[in-house]
Symmetry: C2
Subunit: 397 residues, 2 copies
Amino acid sequence: MRDQSAAGTLSRAGDLFQLLRDGKARTRAELASTTGLARSTVASRIDALISSGFVGAAGEAASSGGRPPSRFAFNPSARIAMAVDVGAMHVVVALTDLNGTVLSEERGDLEVAAGPDVVLDWVIDSGSRQIRQIGRPASSLTGIGIGLPGPVEHSTGRPVNPPIMPGWDGFDVPARVQSTFDVPVLVDNDVNIMALGEQATFWPGDDNLLFVKVATGIGAGIISSSRLQRGAVGTAGDLGHVRVPRGEGVVCRCGNIGCLEALASGPAIAKSLSEIGLPTAGREDLLEHVRHGRIQAIQALRQAGRDVGDVLATCVNLLNPSVIVIGGSLSHLGEHLMAGVREVVYHRSLPLATSSLRIAPSMAGDQAGVLGASRMVIEHVLSPANIEAAVAPNGEN
Amino acid sequence: MRDQSAAGTLSRAGDLFQLLRDGKARTRAELASTTGLARSTVASRIDALISSGFVGAAGEAASSGGRPPSRFAFNPSARIAMAVDVGAMHVVVALTDLNGTVLSEERGDLEVAAGPDVVLDWVIDSGSRQIRQIGRPASSLTGIGIGLPGPVEHSTGRPVNPPIMPGWDGFDVPARVQSTFDVPVLVDNDVNIMALGEQATFWPGDDNLLFVKVATGIGAGIISSSRLQRGAVGTAGDLGHVRVPRGEGVVCRCGNIGCLEALASGPAIAKSLSEIGLPTAGREDLLEHVRHGRIQAIQALRQAGRDVGDVLATCVNLLNPSVIVIGGSLSHLGEHLMAGVREVVYHRSLPLATSSLRIAPSMAGDQAGVLGASRMVIEHVLSPANIEAAVAPNGEN
């Protein structure tokens, strides 16, 4: 095992580890039988995984006589991950174990518009503080996942022309964070992160999931064949500027006519309600209107749902997901938006594609971002190649 | 190497083989250095791959003195694959090598409506005949890929409610073909197959490609992250029944209003031209009209392109492909359809998503089906797990 540089396809301790990630305890003999590897080989790899901490002893197995064989299992407490969810008006920093279970969390009322220095300094301070508070050494941090409220070039972690993030365009987010924490830092846009969090936590059996955020903007995170799909230049899922039938004559801030966002986003609904004599400054006003049963507000949410549904009907025909999850601030205002989405999707999509389709509200809610950021970084650090590198003896790598 | 049942993640000769599939010749030392495997291990695996024929000696490498080390490379002639393209009115059976190069081909004017017995008997006869003609033993056949003009459950190879294929619903296509050829038989719908063929042959560097067929029906094959995406129940890419803005009041054969197919398919264009006094019975008439520069026909194709483009604009925002390939019989009638597609996609899609987007006519043309069927089965038989099984010593597997 000299050169590990291209060992991804052939890594061995890393591959053995993937078998154990389901949490089931196994003996060396079971691992040898499942993998076809010699018992001596399995033994040495398990030893390496145990010294790294990623695998631990997990009680004794039943034996047909003599000393019972030891069983081994994935140890999710071996390391901690930092998960960061940056929204337009808030930042959440959490620490999780390697199963994505949140160990600690802090929320700050920062605006992303304050710029990357202010926001990332707070992230670094909060992360350092929480690591001390839970009593773990800094060396136990294995990676950091960050979600940002705008387009991000995932391969470099730099925002690309983010509309609501002055000062962030092209900023090297990983480098800034790595000046304090020398670990992998992965960055993606908030909707992709939320899709990952929702799928990993609540829909692990669904390999084809569409997460749609309906809030100030409208966008989607696409999981196809169990993988987050970012597209050729990372813009996949940008549904806000798809034209909808009702959009005739409505000008969008992007300059086009009839975009979904110009009709069904929070600001669009607030504007249309204010124009018909129901003053609506933001989400709280809208919630008040709905609580008081004001029919125009309920109709506006229902119609926004229909507009979103019109675009999603096309997405269903194109992608054939088994689940559509609707999240974002507008999804929490009762059933009216969801009802409009369901009405149009079940009317307009192919019968075969909707026969087993579920359309559900986000269950992760405010936690979706943090859960997804944690998931993104855990999948990276626990990949076969990275585990292989992590357990390789010092100096051999 | 006892139990190979779950060896996929840990297979070794199979993984080594993947490195060689690029066609580049390598020495044992180069393979050992790239993979981190011991030279003795590499040597025994290369021996197994050589006895199976999948790898062959490929000339001598330069040496710093002494006997030059041998170099090894993938041998695409090791086996042959059978590729079958069943259309509404034709069947093509081809033999290819393991690079997908066509060695032999036969076309039959059969109608798919003749039913699976007639069609598959002809496929079996033609395949057997061609194997004899090229002088290869029957044992060199490694697998069969089949494309059908309707929905197929890929996991079982059975058509699912195919509208133009009486007698095929639920028919066990693989079992019927395997009664003569005892090899893996993979079946998929024609549009998915064409997407594979086009991508593998002409766009190998593009991991996000959308292939759109515009003919009697309209559908798409989606390749995202280098993988064909079939969706949760296999209906992904079914664009024919997406609603388009111009569709107001137009009833589709599916019962819905304003579907793309009701406006932009071959029959829809023929009907609209006939209604305005330009009798059009089929594709040949349409071609005649275009050749004679009849303005209504040119306008109709251009408008059909705009309608297709309207749906594709949404697909571009959703999937962010780097290439859209337009195929099918209507794509070969000059530039009018393509011009309409480009006009609307570049107008309606996100600037970032279209900045590097190419919209190109199918280059594989009539060959797309056969090239894709070959590619589908080659990817299967040359996967790490299947190569591992193929090179395992007799009786151990």
